[in-house]
C-alpha cells in the first residue's frame, strides 16, 4: 500500500481552526466481520465543504456512519467538534446526517416527517413549526410539503431528507450523495445552499461521484479507495501535487509515429500510445515543461502538423483517475 499523499491545509486555515472546531479521526478502522470497511484513517477536517470521493464500495458511507455513530469503530476514535456520538443528547444538536437510505417512517407528509423528528429532539410545537418551515423553504419544497412522502419523486425525497437533516440547525452536516436524483436545476440550487451553509461557518462533509460538481463546490477533498485514504487536502493543493506525477496529454497530428520516436528518447516520457486511427497519440510525462519544449522543437525542425494538444489532467477528474481509476485498471 503506497503512502497517503498529504497536502497540508493552507496556513490561514490552520491558524484559525482549533481542535474544538475540527472533525477528528484517530487511527480509525472498521471491519464488518472479515470485510474491511475502512482502515487506519487519520483525518482532521476543518469547517467548509469537504468532499469525500471514491468509487463504489470504497468506504465513503462507512466513514460517514462512523462519524455519526450509526456504526462503532472496530479500532480508534472519532470526535466531532470534541463531542462523541456516544452522547447523542448533546452530539446530535450539533450534527445532522442525510444518509443514503431512501426510506421514511410510514404515512407522513413531507412537513410532518421533518416536524415529527424535531419534536423527538424535544422542541416545542411553535419552535418545531418554525424550524420545519424554514428547512423546507431552504430546499425549495414548500409547495409539496403538505403531500405524502410516499407520492414524492426521487429528487423530492432526496430534498425532504436534506431538509430533515438540517432542520435542527446543526453546525456539522454530513451528506451521503446528496445530489443523487436531482435534476440540473435542483443540483445547482443544492450546491448554492451548501455554499451558503459553509459560508455561515458550518462543516459540510459531502460524498459524491460527480467530480465536476465536487470541483466547483469543495474547499477540500478526500479521496478514498478500498478503505484507505488515498489523498486529502485543498482542491488546489491536490492539483499541484499531481505535477509530481505523470501527466496525460493527447496530441492530434499527421505523423504520430514520427513524433513518438522523438518522444521515446526523452527520460521524462513515461508512456506513448499511438491512436488507432494513426492521427494522434497519447503521452504520459513527468515533466510538462520539458514536454512542451520538445514539442516546440520538433514542430520547428520538421514538417509535423499539429491539430490539437490537450492535457487530460487539468481538473479533479484527472486526480481521480490518477489515484483511483487508472490504478484500478492496472491492478
Amino acid at each position: 500500500m503506497e503512502a497517503v499523499i498529504n497536502i497540508p491545509i493552507s496556513q490561514t486555515a490552520k491558524e484559525s481552526v482549533t481542535a474544538e472546531q475540527m472533525i477528528v479521526f484517530e487511527d480509525v478502522s472498521k471491519f464488518y466481520g472479515e470485510i474491511l470497511g475502512v482502515n487506519r484513517v487519520n483525518l482532521q477536517i476543518a469547517p467548509g465543504i469537504t468532499s469525500l470521493v471514491g468509487p463504489n464500495g470504497s468506504g465513503k458511507t462507512t466513514l460517514m456512519n462512523l462519524m455519526t455513530g450509526l456504526i462503532q469503530p472496530t479500532r480508534g476514535r472519532v470526535k466531532v467538534l470534541d463531542y462523541s456520538a456516544n452522547d447523542p443528547e448533546i452530539f446530535f444538536r450539533k450534527v445532522g446526517y442525510c444518509s443514503q437510505f431512501d426510506s421514511f417512517p410510514a404515512g407522513h407528509t413531507g412537513y410532518e416527517f421533518v416536524y415529527s423528528y424535531l419534536r423527538v429532539h424535544g422542541y416545542a410545537k411553535n419552535d418545531a413549526d418554525r424550524m420545519t418551515a424554514r428547512a423546507i423553504e431552504r430546499v425549495g419544497l414548500t409547495e409539496a410539503a403538505k403531500r405524502k412522502v410516499a407520492g414524492y419523486s426521487k429528487g423530492m425525497r432526496q430534498r425532504i431528507r436534506l431538509a430533515q437533516s438540517i432542520a435542527h440547525q446543526p453546525s456539522v452536516i454530513v451528506l451521503d450523495e446528496p445530489l443523487n436524483g436531482l435534476d440540473p436545476m435542483a443540483r445547482a440550487e443544492a450546491i448554492r445552499l451548501f455554499r451558503e451553509l459553509a459560508d455561515e461557518g458550518l462543516h459540510l462533509i459531502i460524498s459524491s461521484h460527480i467530480l465536476h460538481e465536487v470541483n466547483k463546490m469543495s474547499d477540500r477533498v478526500i479521496f478514498i479507495k478500498e478503505g484507505y485514504i488515498k489523498a486529502e487536502g485543498e482542491v488546489q493543493g491536490v492539483r499541484n501535487e499531481l505535477e509530481e506525477h505523470p501527466l496525460q496529454i493527447v496530441v492530434r497530428c499527421d505523423q504520430p509515429s514520427f513524433l513518438a520516436t522523438k518522444l521515446f528518447a526523452e527520460p521524462h516520457i513515461v508512456e506513448v500510445h499511438i491512436h488507432d486511427d494513426r492521427k494522434g497519440l497519447f503521452v504520459k510525462t513527468r515533466n510538462t515543461d520539458k514536454f512542451y519544449d520538445l514539442l516546440n522543437r520538433v514542430v520547428v525542425t520538421s514538417d509535423l502538423n499539429i491539430e490539437t494538444v490537450a492535457t487530460v489532467d487539468n481538473d479533479l477528474n484527472a486526480v481521480y483517475h490518477y489515484l483511483i481509476g487508472a490504478r484500478q485498471e492496472g491492478e
Binding site: 450509526l70 443528547e89 437510505f101 426510506s103 410510514a106 407522513h108 423553504e137 451558503e196
Partner: protein, 286 residues
Amino acid sequence: MNAVAIEAPTLGSGWSLWRRQIAGILRLEIKKNFLSKRALPMYLLAAIPVVIMMMLALFDRGMRRGVRTNFAEAMIVFSNLHEGLILRTVIFFGCAWIFMNLFRGEVVDKSLHYYFLSAVKREVLVVGKYLSGLIASCTLFLLTTAGALFFLYLPRGVQANLDYIFNGPGWAQITDYLGITILACVGYGALFMVIGLFFRNPIIPALFVYGWEWLNFLLPPMLKKISIIHYLHSLVPVPVNEGPLAIIGEPTPQWIAITGMLIVTAIVLFLASMRIRRMEIHYGGE
C-alpha cells in the same frame, strides 16, 4: 434567502427535556403504528372476544338463562374465557405483534436511523417506544375486556346489574379484570420487546413462550413462577380451574405478583436499553 445563521432554540436538559422527547416519540409512534392500515389485523384480533360474547348474549338462549339464574356459574365461564382467550391468546399475540415490531419494524422499514440521529438518549428512546406500545395495547385490550364484560352483564337487565356492581362484588371484579389486563400488557410488552431485540427470528422464541405459558399449570411450583400467566392467574377475582392434571402451587399474594411484575419489567427495559445503546444500523445485511 439570507445567509445569516439563526440560533436554534435551546433544548434544556434533564427530566423536562426527556418528558418532551418522550411526548415527541409517542406522537410519532402512535401515528406510525396504530393509526395506520397495518394495525388493522390487531384491531380484528382485539375484537374477537367481544364478538364472541356479543353472539352469546344475543343468540344463545342457554347462556342468557344461565346469566339470569346462576350468575356465579356464568362468572366462572367468563373467567375461563378471559384467561384462555383474552389473556393467553389475544393479549399475548397482540403484545407480541406490537412490541416485537417497535424496533424490528423500523429496521424492516429502514427508518430507525432517524431516531438514532436525533438528539435523544437511546434509553429515552427505549422508554418512549415501550410507553407507546403500552398506551396502544392497554387502550385496545381494556376495550376488549370491558366489551366482553359488557356483553356478559347485558342479559341480566339494568336493575340487576346496577345492584350487582354497586351493592355486590361487581365493581371489584370489573376493576380486577381491567387491572389484570393492564398488568398483562406491561408484562408481555416488556417480554416481547426484549425478544424482538435479541432474536434474529423472534417467531420461534415467541411460540416457545406461548407453549410455556400454556403448560404452566403442569410445572412444579418453582418453575411456575418464571412466567407471566402465573402471576396474572393469581390475581383473577373468580378462580379458573386448571383441570385435574394441574400441580397446585401456593398462590402468590397480590402485592408480590404486582411488584414482581413491575420489577421484571424494569429489568427488561434496562436490558433493552443496553442492547439499543450498542446497536448499529445495518439494514441491508439482515
